[in-house]
């Protein structure tokens, strides 16, 4: 067990691993006939590879890496639009660092910055609001990115800007929600999914009930999980026990942080500022109904799409994926990163073709960092 010593509590980890092995056996899952468990969140994908959980658990368990990395599911067209906004005269474009190196069709935000655009890497949308206060003569645009975990932060920032009457602040809203793509994957006849490990910090905001449909309508177990390796192992065990017992429930392994009904103040702010878009485009998954959020008319003045006539405000823009890139198949768990013809060849962390190789939460980057590079050397 090569990594167990790195656990905070190796003894507890061994106990859970033994239980996982036992229950996997009781289910009768084998390498030839595995149970497929999708970890939805990119943070979990990262932890699985960092701690080698896929190697520590029996061969009868197959981890399917889900679409829960917000920069990875960003269509290239969105990156292009970011660059276009950033390159307008007078604009200060603010983004989380994660999005800087994501390739667009022409360039990434990093390259646009090198070419002279005023692009700032910020830690928080509050930094962007502060920039708007300090630079009244400039248009400050924040690239609003992420799932429910970060959605409250931009909603509250917009409310703050509105209270102050900051006319030079806007958000290019690309916030997305977790449940709709899960539904899309469950509706896909090519996907075999036996259970889910749910993202803990998303549920910290929305609670556990938005996942009820997974258990009630699709008969699959889901366990909302924390981020420690031991949390993940415990959650996997809880999913396996449900499968063994023929149960399909929404369980909360991360109750110490996740309230059943989420965070009320966050939910109020989200509902005040945002409404669901009819549909939103996901890289690799296409358009998914009601999977993205847009800024309500009441806050139109803070909507960069309206202000700059870009994004969904300007109508659909379809951009082809780069040659030979399998990002879509990897994103949906249909293909392992090493199955992509570009992995480690055309596409490495230094020369990424897809966002999956850029973000630490991306499956390709995780494979590369924790052993994938070795796999390529062996394969070449």
């Amino acid at each position: 067990m090569r990594y167990v010593e790195e656990f905070r509590d190796p003894k507890a980890a061994r106990g859970v691993l033994a239980a996982i092995a036992r229950v996997t056996g009781e289910i009768g899952a084998t390498a030839e006939k595995p149970v497929h468990i999708m970890e939805i969140c990119g943070g979990h994908t990262h932890a699985i590879f960092r701690y080698g959980l896929d190697k520590l658990t029996p061969e009868g368990i197959e981890f399917i890496h889900g679409p829960g990395c917000p920069v990875c599911v960003l269509p290239m067209a969105r990156v292009d639009e970011c660059v276009e906004i950033a390159e307008r005269p007078g604009v200060i474009f603010c983004t989380f660092g994660d999005a800087m190196r994501v390739p667009g069709t022409v360039k990434s935000l990093m390259q646009a910055k090198a070419d002279g655009a005023d692009i700032r890497m910020v830690y928080s949308p509050l930094d962007a609001v502060e920039l708007a206060r300090r630079n009244p003569g400039r248009e400050v645009v924040f690239f609003g990115l992420g799932f429910e975990t970060t959605t409250p932060s931009t909603a509250l920032s917009i409310q703050q800007a509105a209270r102050e009457g900051l006319e030079n602040f806007s958000v290019f809203c690309n916030h997305i929600t977790v449940p709709p793509p899960i539904k899309a994957l469950l509706d896909d006849p090519h996907m075999v999914l036996d259970g889910f490990v749910g993202p803990g910090h998303v549920s910290m905001v929305i609670g556990v009930h938005p996942y009820d449909f997974i258990a009630d309508d699709y008969g699959k177990p889901i366990v909302v999980a924390g981020f420690e390796p031991l949390d993940l192992l415990q959650s996997v065990l809880m999913v396996l026990e449900q499968i063994r017992d023929g149960r399909a429930e929404v369980e909360n392994q991360y109750a110490r942080v996740v309230p059943e009904h989420g965070n009320p103040a966050s939910l109020v702010a989200i509902a005040d500022v945002y409404e669901p878009r009819p549909s939103f485009e996901w890289r690799g998954l296409g358009e998914i109904d009601a999977s993205g959020l847009r800024i309500r008319d009441a806050y139109k003045a803070f909507d960069a799409e309206e202000k700059f006539g870009i994004g969904y405000a300007a109508g659909p823009r379809v951009v082809a994926e780069p040659e030979g890139c399998a990002c879509g198949a990897v994103m949906t768990g249909r293909l392992k990163p090493t199955g992509c013809p570009q992995f480690g060849r055309g596409c490495t962390p230094d020369t990424p073709l897809g966002a999956l190789m850029v973000s630490s939460e991306g499956a390709c980057a995780a494979y590369w960092t924790y052993g994938g590079a070795r796999a390529v050397e062996e394969a070449v």
């Binding site: 960092r50 660092g97 928080s124 509050l126 930094d127 509250l156 910090h201 981020f227």
Partner: protein
């Protein structure tokens, strides 16, 4: 971006804007506390919170904070977040 980082609220800096100073692994950073605020903001002083992109999103106990921090260090995410905070501070000063 999604994992957040624990910090301890050390003082309320701006009642009206619901801002407080947090100590995040020795780094001081102003955070918004709307999502964890009760009727009296001063009650938050001394509390440990999970901070996501500058917003305190959940009150956690000290033990949980320590364990979460350790898990984040293991993943390299703690260092990354602290770097992002430093980047953010720098971005404000650029001309």
């Amino acid at each position: 971006m999604c994992l957040g980082i624990p910090g301890q609220i050390v003082e309320i800096t701006d009642e009206a804007r619901q801002m407080a100073m947090a100590d995040v692994s020795g780094v001081r950073r102003e955070v918004n506390v709307t999502c964890v605020a009760g009727a009296d903001l001063s009650e938050l002083v001394g509390a440990w919170v999970l901070i996501h992109v500058g917003f305190a999103m959940a009150v956690i106990d000290e033990h949980e904070a320590a364990e979460t921090l350790e898990a984040l260090r293991g993943l390299g995410e703690a260092q990354e977040t602290l770097e992002q905070m430093a980047e953010g501070a720098k971005a404000l000063e650029e001309q």
